[in-house]
Symmetry: C2
Subunit: 250 residues, 2 copies
């Protein structure tokens, strides 16, 4: 079959303001949309466009469905929230190709960047990622907790700003507590911390606090957690509190 293609896209993490022009074009031209149901629900319906909504945690199967549709000649968009390359569907698509049907290797495939949740959260806070930073998933679904802990220690040793994805889930509510216990051994209690929930959505909630005072129980599956470096600071202005990391940080 010819004419099929697969575009791996991200919608940005909530607000339609964060959709890119290129992704809007792809959403217009796709014959099939494949993705986690809450992301597909954010896309206005189009006549003739077919939606394949799936549950969470079936990423490789979802990628396989998309690849089969593209191999059958459809124009398929695999839809993530945020950016598809940051703890989202792009890696799952390549994992599926590597372990999957030989025909999938010949498909016309492209990945398109989106506004990642960390960039949206950083913009809301001010400029906390203005200097060197690390991005870590706290989920131990696909890796041992020791691997997470090793990276937390290394990031702490390097005095990086840190962003945590997947800080907690219903099945594993404790990981963010374990991470904070580890950080409290090495980082000063004054270290700035932010919990940003549902950024860009109507129920957005952002809490700025310190490592010493932070209550990790506020983090859930929709929360991104940011931990400052020793140089990250806050600034009162315009009736609010900004968080930023100077460019000359140590």
């Amino acid at each position: 079959m010819s004419g099929g293609r697969l575009d791996v896209i991200g919608l940005g993490p909530g607000s339609p303001d964060w959709l890119t022009a290129g992704v809007a074009d792809i959403l217009r031209d796709a014959t099939d949309l494949v993705g986690y149901a809450p992301y597909l629900d954010r896309i206005p319906p189009r006549d003739g466009q077919i939606r394949h909504a799936s549950d969470n945690r079936v990423e490789v199967e979802r990628a396989g469905l998309a690849l089969d549709l593209a191999a059958a000649g459809r124009r398929v968009a695999v839809v993530s929230g945020g950016d598809p390359g940051i703890f989202a569907m792009a890696a799952a698509v390549f994992e599926a190709i590597e372990g999957g049907r030989p025909a999938w290797r010949d498909l016309d495939i492209a990945v398109h960047p989106g506004i990642s949740a960390m960039l949206a959260v950083a913009a809301r806070l001010g400029a906390p990622l203005g200097h060197d930073f690390c991005v870590i998933s706290l989920s131990d679904n696909l890796k041992p907790w020791q691997a997470v802990a090793r990276r937390l220690r290394a990031a702490s040793e390097g005095d990086f700003v840190m962003v945590f994805y997947n800080p907690a889930s219903k099945a594993r509510p404790d990981r963010i507590f374990d991470a904070f216990a580890l950080l409290r051994e090495t980082r000063a209690p004054e270290t700035l911390v932010a919990f940003a929930r549902a950024v860009g959505r109507s129920d957005e909630r952002i809490i700025v606090t310190t490592l010493g005072e932070a209550d990790p129980s506020v983090a859930d599956m929709s929360t991104l957690v940011l931990v400052g470096s020793s140089a990250t600071r806050s600034l009162e202005g315009g009736g609010r509190r900004w968080v930023y990391t100077p460019r000359s940080a140590p």
Copy 2:
């Protein structure tokens, strides 16, 4: 004066496909655009909109000009390429406010995310940021090289994927050589490396190689360098070579 405001925005790193809807709205409504000349040159002219183009390396002065214009009642957009929060103007704006005129603290200010160069590069490569990663500026204009080296060692210890901004400049062409020398002490020669120059522009050039074979002299001011973790792998498909980091990486 009332009615003035300051929006800190990013255009994405080259292609107009990467402009967000929210930033397009701001560009339409701004009375004044402030930014490094090559970024302003990417914006179509509008009647009555004033451009304040500046040289590179005068970020805090540029931010001060923008803040003064906003304080005088203008609707000002401070324009970065990529995302304004990643080694760009957002941190400089807050540095300027912290050390500047008290009136600047009362301004209506917002930061808006953009597609960062690292997300665009990652999408072109496949999904190299599909697992934990670090982002490091190799510039030692504003920090001692020891601080950079400490972070490189920590990131290496944590087996993070690494993204390097500012790998080399005309004044300091050696930093990427120093960084690679350090990484070659700790990481396997098979580690995947990519040099991505001018992503999204007509002269885009991407080289995928290994740490053992990489020639750091290809990196210049417009290049982003990506170094894989021990799990980052490549995959032939669609007549090209993809780079991705599986979600189950150690």
